[in-house]
């Protein structure tokens, strides 16, 4: 017997159909309020990168997140969560296989799954998915059972059949049948540890709500701070072209493309009686004077 199993970290080549993106916005860190998470459509904002050798082959790992400025165009903090897509359903039944009574599992109804996600429940496709559980009595408090999850280790279409127990009782068990719309999933851990033979792990109850999540990639969170000024804009102030109109006192700072970046009015404040200069003022001008275009100013 060998237990030389392997593990690795690989660049994910997940389809955007298996991704969920949530975000929240706050204009400052000081704002104390609850965080409202909103959804983004991954098919519109997450673009996989293709291999340089084949435009139809995903490179793996590298994705571009294209955040629309219509949503992400304000100064402040955007928290973006990129996580595997969740499928919510209820457990149809719990049981064992007809000729493997020690193999326990959960049954799900494919018809309860949204149509676009039903292919995930075909035979063998749920292997590696994670199941989290919702509380059965959801009257108050937290609806999700925290810190509890199971991993699906196999899934097949299955049909419940009754097996005679030799008396009036008949128990139900599952046999694999591709004509059925019920899917039988085995999970881990589902058997008792050797040190606690009576401690059978919880894998769920019939009619209990569950969240089924793929494990095609590790979730990440981005905090994007949108700022008005960065190194580049500070360099405009230091190193870019500038003009000072002596006629009207308009001081213009241009960006490196010689477009008007900022304009200021320069003036002096004098004592109204003595005419003594009191202040030299530089005041930002919010109505841009277009006649201070750099090309026009320097066209002589």
């Amino acid at each position: 017997m060998a237990t030389g199993n392997y593990g690795t970290i690989r660049p994910a080549d997940v389809s955007v159909d298996d991704v969920e993106i949530l975000y929240s916005y706050t204009p400052s860190r000081e704002l104390v309020s609850s965080v409202d998470l909103l959804n983004l459509d991954p098919s519109e904002v997450l673009i996989p990168t293709n291999s340089p050798n084949d435009v139809n082959e995903i490179l793996g790992g590298l994705y571009t997140l294209k955040l629309p400025t219509a949503v992400f165009g304000s100064k402040g903090f955007y928290s973006i969560i990129i996580r595997p897509k969740q499928i919510r359903t209820t457990i149809q039944d719990c049981g064992v296989l007809i000729d493997n009574q020690d193999v326990k599992g959960l049954a799900f109804d494919i018809n309860q799954i949204p149509t676009e996600l039903q292919s995930r429940f075909e035979n063998g496709n749920l292997v590696g998915y994670r199941i989290e559980y919702l509380k059965e009595n959801t009257g108050t408090g937290q609806n999700k059972i925290q810190n509890l999850f199971r991993i699906i280790t196999s899934n097949n279409r299955a049909l419940p059949i009754t097996q005679n127990q030799g008396n009036d009782n008949a128990s139900q068990a599952y046999t694999f049948n591709d004509n059925s719309t019920t899917v039988f999933c085995t999970l881990t851990p589902s058997s008792a540890p050797s040190v606690k033979p009576n401690a059978v792990p919880f894998i769920g109850n019939p009619q209990q709500g569950v969240i089924i999540t793929n494990t095609f990639f590790n979730p990440i969170m981005l905090e994007i701070e949108m700022v008005e000024y960065d190194d580049e804009t500070l360099a405009y102030a230091l190193y870019s072209n500038q003009s000072k109109s002596l006629e009207d006192g308009i001081y213009t700072i241009y960006n490196f493309g010689n477009q008007i970046y900022k304009q200021y009015n320069l003036y002096e404040v004098k004592d109204q009686f003595t005419g003594k200069p009191l202040y030299e003022v530089r005041e930002q001008k919010f109505t841009i004077d277009p006649t201070k275009d750099f090309d026009d100013v320097t066209d002589f």
């Binding site: 237990t3 629309p68 196999s154 591709d178 004509n179 949108m226 960006n255």
Partner: protein, 301 residues
């Protein structure tokens, strides 16, 4: 969960161009901006990309291009092998799919209900390459010519199981010997009677009698053999190496990548231990090595 922080300047997305078309002369005769002009975007971050004249840039389909803040990400997946699965029989679907779905892939579609086995089979795959003449000895007859060299008789089956397997020469001339190992005898017979033009089963070898290959083995010893080519037409997934099963995961095999091998010749399951248990175990020890190996080191000295 990985946590990434980025600081992005809004200035990169802010329009700083002032098109001439948005300039007007006011009542005082001064040139000013008509900020009601739809082409005026100065100081704003438009939802769609505009050029320096204030016109929306269109894509190849004539659609406006969304203005986006682009961030590169690297997504990874942690993978662990959960070990071997167990095959189970299943009742196939009553409805058989007439053709595989587009771009059918056994992983993404799984064991698709209604998909027959031939959806999973690949076409015949031809494999070819060079090797040594080691198999030539297997197809020679027991007769020798006047020089003491073996005589190769076409279509003489040298296999131990000649009804099921053909090992033998197909043709021979002064330059080469063509022979087949592991072919279907019926197919060879059909070929011999010119019913078919080629033999697709087994491995075909061609050994060239006048061409030598010199090589060195792993111990540095010089080797020499006749140049030999091989060809197989029966590679890929076919009905002989593929079957459809439901697979389940037995918890006791989690993380075990090979089937358990039991080395004990005899295994006695004693069930409930009784007062004779220890004596019975000791009676099984015949050598000092047994002390270490019996019951995985159960007995300790």
């Amino acid at each position: 969960m990985e946590y990434i922080r980025k600081k992005i300047g809004l200035e990169s997305y802010t329009v700083r161009s002032i098109p001439k078309s948005v300039l007007i002369t006011n009542t005082e005769g001064k040139t000013v901006i008509d900020d009601t002009n739809p082409k005026y975007f100065y100081g704003k971050i438009p939802n769609y990309i505009v050029d320096s004249n204030g016109n929306y840039i269109l894509d190849s389909l004539g659609q406006k291009i969304k203005n986006t803040v682009d961030v590169s990400l690297f997504l990874t997946q942690d993978v662990d092998d959960m070990g071997i699965f167990s095959d189970k029989t299943f009742t196939p679907s009553n409805t058989t799919l007439p053709a595989p779905p587009p771009n059918f892939n056994s992983f993404t579609y799984g064991r698709l209900a209604g998909a027959p086995l031939n959806f999973y089979l690949t076409g015949e795959n031809t494999l070819s390459g060079n090797t040594d003449d080691g198999y030539l000895n297997q197809v020679r007859s027991y007769r020798l010519d006047v020089n003491g060299n073996p005589i190769y008789v076409p279509f003489l089956n040298t296999s131990d199981n000649s009804k099921k397997v053909f090992n033998g020469v197909i043709s021979e001339d002064i330059n080469k010997t063509i022979y087949s190992i592991g072919s279907n005898p019926i197919e060879v017979s059909d070929y011999q009677q010119n019913n078919i033009s080629s033999i697709n089963s087994g491995i075909e070898f061609i050994t060239y009698k006048n061409e030598y290959v010199r090589s060195v083995d792993e111990y540095g010893k010089n080797l020499s053999f006749f140049k030999t080519n091989f060809k197989s037409n029966s590679g890929g997934w076919n009905i002989n190496n593929t079957s459809l099963n439901a697979i389940i995961k037995k918890e006791e095999y989690l993380g075990i990548v090979f089937k358990p091998e039991v080395n004990s010749v005899v295994f006695i399951n004693r069930g409930v231990a009784d007062i004779f248990e220890r004596h019975a175990i000791l009676s099984e020890l015949k050598t000092t090595n047994d002390i270490d190996t019996n019951r995985g080191g159960f007995v300790r000295v």
